[in-house]
């Protein structure tokens, strides 16, 4: 099972620039979604007049299905500068991969709970680290895309863009670098030194 919790409102206010399209995923049954907190925060956004649309659905990790369900919202998404995704880490990564030209913001941190974990039929994965890094890494999870789960950039082991551990696997940090470059967010690499917090029941929201 997993739990998602809202990042701090200060962090969210900082991250959500310009016009915002809000996407909520009420997910699989294995997930607890912070509905009340998300609603309250989204009401604040709406009052501020920056929202181009709010859409609540489920299983956004299924990109094919998500593509269909988002079709009626194409215009609202088009006019938004940022897509604010309220979901687990897999959902955010799916949306970030679908909209490479948009600023896609992870609004939640994903924590693990004991028990069965939802099975996602995708290449992307989330380790439920509890301090989601996706806003610093162009929507690609450094914990699952990098063999060493590095959070401060590429090691010296990449060869021809592949990971030192597995020549069939693309180096996660090469992907992250290229993605940040493509979306004009290389400034994210100038963030402070990142150190994982394994005591994720503490308050540890990463940007």
């Amino acid at each position: 099972m997993l739990i998602t919790e809202l990042k701090s409102t200060e962090t969210l206010r900082e991250l959500l620039k310009g016009k915002v399209f809000v996407l909520n995923c009420h997910g699989c049954r294995e997930i607890r979604f912070p509905e009340a907190e998300a609603d309250a925060f989204q009401a604040e956004l709406t009052a501020a007049g920056v929202v181009t649309g709010i859409f609540t659905t489920e299983y956004i990790c299924n990109d094919e299905n998500l593509g269909y369900t988002l079709e009626p919202h194409a215009a609202a998404i088009e006019t938004a500068d940022t897509i604010a995704v309220f979901s687990c880490g897999v959902g955010v990564q799916t949306v970030a991969a679908m909209y490479p030209g948009k600023r896609v913001v992870a609004c939640c941190d994903t924590y693990a709970l004991p028990g069965y974990q939802g099975v996602t039929p995708l290449e992307v994965d989330c380790k439920q680290c509890g301090e989601c890094f996706l806003n610093l890494t162009g929507g690609i999870c450094p914990l699952t895309a990098c063999s060493k789960s590095l959070v401060n950039g590429q090691c010296g082991g990449a060869k021809n863009g592949k990971c030192e551990v597995d020549p069939d696997m693309e180096c996660g940090w090469e992907r992250i670098y290229q993605k940040l470059k493509k979306i004009g967010r290389l400034d994210a690499l100038k963030c402070p030194v990142q150190i994982r917090n394994y005591a994720t029941d503490d308050e540890v929201t990463k940007r």
Partner: protein, 292 residues
């Protein structure tokens, strides 16, 4: 002596790398280092290099120091978590070992214990940050250290010929932000590419030591091209080594190739880092031929 003092004086700093054996007899390693590496500034001691288990780096550094050499303590994040790494950095400083090199380390799957748990609690950047924090008199969580804090020359590595060179430069910048004082590079065989890299790297204002391997033969070069990240030996050098096998075997060709690279790159960097890979005996000759 911290090697940063030498960089500050504008000296061209030369270091070489030695690897501890898998065993407790280090006399040979120390004697060889004393014989061939006494003429250079400092000796890097590797840390379970390539994820192959070897005798403790810190113990080897201490023996090197006893023998009158200046060791550089290489620390990787593969085998120890943040408690162990801080503890060992303090231990190094207590032994008077103040030159360190902070690395992420190869994955455990690359070595001779592929089933081992890879730690990577920290990485090269956060390890540099940890060393900087200790220098300020606290541990990573802010608990005060007892007495005078340690002072390190904090080194890091960068891979200038990597096919991901932009990502490498971005990481280099993060290392500088985290407190890196100097850099050693992965082995360079293409001077032009190194010079190009230095054009971009000089903005960080930190001394960079050119990494050099003395190529032993064509087979070794082909192996590195296939398997070693960030290393590329051009075909004409491989041909040169293959042309006269006896000459290559005697080390003459390899030393000539390495000396030429050093001469070409010297105006663009602040030092030299030699990875002799068992050819420590050739280091004095290489220095002579390169005019250092």
């Amino acid at each position: 002596m911290r090697i940063t003092e030498l960089f500050d004086n504008g000296e061209f700093v030369v270091t070489a790398e030695v690897g501890p054996p898998k065993g407790i007899h280090l006399e040979h390693l120390v004697a060889e280092a004393k014989e061939y590496l006494s003429g250079i500034t400092a000796v890097n001691v590797t840390d379970n290099q390539s994820s192959v288990m070897r005798t403790s780096t810190l113990a080897t550094c201490a023996l090197m120091k006893q023998a009158g050499l200046t060791p550089i303590y290489q620390a990787t994040c593969r085998d120890r978590n943040r408690l162990a790494l801080q503890s060992d950095l303090l231990g190094a400083a207590a032994l008077g070992i103040e030159n360190i090199l902070c690395l992420t380390g190869d994955h455990t799957k690359m070595g001779d214990h592929p089933g081992a748990k890879p730690v990577f609690d920290l990485d090269s950047v956060s390890l540099l940050h940890v060393a900087s924090t200790l220098e300020k008199g606290t541990d990573l969580t802010g608990n005060p250290l007892v007495g005078e804090p340690p002072k390190f020359a904090k080194g890091a590595v960068v891979s200038p010929i990597s096919d991901s060179v932009d990502a490498q430069l971005a990481k280099m910048e993060r290392k500088v932000m985290a407190g890196a004082d100097y850099f050693q590079t992965q082995a360079v065989f293409e001077s032009e590419k190194f010079i190009e890299f230095m054009e971009k790297a000089k903005q960080f204002g930190k001394p960079v030591q050119l990494g050099v391997i003395i190529p032993k033969n064509a087979g070794m070069c082909k192996f590195m091209n296939r398997n070693v990240a960030g290393v590329h030996v051009p075909q004409y050098m491989i041909d040169e080594l293959a042309a006269d096998k006896e000459r290559a075997k005697a080390g003459i060709t390899g030393v000539e190739i390495a000396a030429k690279i050093i001469k070409e790159c010297r105006p663009y960097c602040q030092g030299l880092h030699i990875m002799a890979l068992g050819w420590e005996a050739k280091v004095p000759e290489l220095m002579k031929l390169a005019g250092i």
